[in-house]
């Protein structure tokens, strides 16, 4: 049996890579992709805990399923906004949308 730590470390690495993407990227769609990576890390965590430590009730599995649903909905909503902003400003970069300051 694979030790649970393997999965947890993988999820931590995935989460950190996603966080780096959020900080470093400028394009809104690429930031969204980085958020998806973070959420994938979260799902791995939930599923690992559910199968290893909570096998009778497996609430974590249900949680991970809902996380996937919410993440997909979020992508849909955010892409709608990105398209709208692109139509208004001809850019999908976050830091070119800068009329709101301080």
């Amino acid at each position: 049996m694979i030790p649970i730590e393997n999965f947890l470390v993988l999820s931590a690495i995935l989460f950190a890579i996603g966080f780096y993407g959020v900080l470093a990227r400028r394009n809104a769609i690429l930031i969204l992709m980085a958020v998806e990576l973070m959420l994938a890390g979260v799902s791995i965590n939930f599923i690992a805990f559910a199968t290893y430590l909570d096998a009778d009730a497996f609430s974590g599995l249900v949680f991970a399923l809902f996380v996937i649903a919410v993440a997909a909905a979020e992508v849909g909503l955010a892409l709608g906004v990105v398209l709208r902003l692109f139509r208004e400003r001809r850019t999908a970069n976050v830091d070119e949308a800068d009329s709101l300051k301080w």
Partner: protein, 219 residues
């Protein structure tokens, strides 16, 4: 007949180069892993885990590092499929299935469409923000703290077993009835938001006048 097949020179050069590099890097890793497997240092499932983990991590790195947005999106696909493999290793076929269907079939297509509809089609190369070193530092600290904390903990005794589909369905639709209803409301809201934003809104008279003036000035 054969002259209709695309020649290697017509392939996207990046794909060929990337594939070559990936093959050169992956071969020794694969060899090492196979050696470990056959010398019984790691078990069969662990071998699969490490393979999937390599796909996941390298795909994730590609998704946040690549300059070409389409390549980044394809790396994301690799990661998400690798994550589905991890779910299989965790004995949850159902969520692996959902992962492949929702992400591979839906989300990534959506992302690619959005990339194509914004400037990515003409100019797929993006520049990253100036806070890259800072971001790297923060993410590295965060990741190492996470790993340290997770390895520090003693997680009790694992009791993994396969969850039958029937139990899974009962659990969702009977025990978690309220979340199912609430997530339905949530999807409804997201749908409303997406069509409200993506639909062309009526332009303000002032903006339209300005746009016309700008157009005249340019011509």
């Amino acid at each position: 007949m054969f002259d209709r097949l695309p020649l290697p020179s017509q392939f996207d050069r990046v794909i060929v180069a990337g594939g070559t590099v990936a093959a050169i890097v992956a071969t020794p890793v694969l060899v090492v892993l196979l050696a470990l497997l056959f010398s019984d240092v790691i078990s069969g499932p662990e071998f699969v885990f490490y393979l999937a983990a390599i796909v996941v991590v390298s795909g994730a790195l590609g998704a946040v590092l690549m300059d070409n947005v389409v390549h980044a999106a394809l790396c994301l696909v690799a990661t998400l499929l690798g994550v589905a493999g991890i779910y299989l290793l965790l004995m949850t076929e159902f969520i692996a299935l959902v992962q492949v269907l929702v992400y591979g079939g839906g989300v990534v297509i959506l992302l690619l469409f959005a990339l194509m509809m914004t400037n990515a089609a003409e100019d797929p190369i993006v520049t990253d923000g100036s806070q890259k070193p800072f971001g790297f530092l923060v993410a590295a600290i965060m990741g190492s703290l996470f790993v340290a904390a997770l390895l520090d903990a003693q997680w009790g005794d694992p009791t993994a077993n396969v969850v039958p589909f029937v139990d899974f369905g009962t659990r969702i639709f009977r025990d978690f009835s309220v979340p199912v209803i609430v997530v339905a409301v949530l999807l409804d809201i997201a749908l409303t938001g997406a069509f409200i934003n993506a639909r062309r809104a009526e332009e303000a008279p002032r903006e339209r006048a300005e746009a016309e003036r700008a157009g005249e000035a340019r011509s």
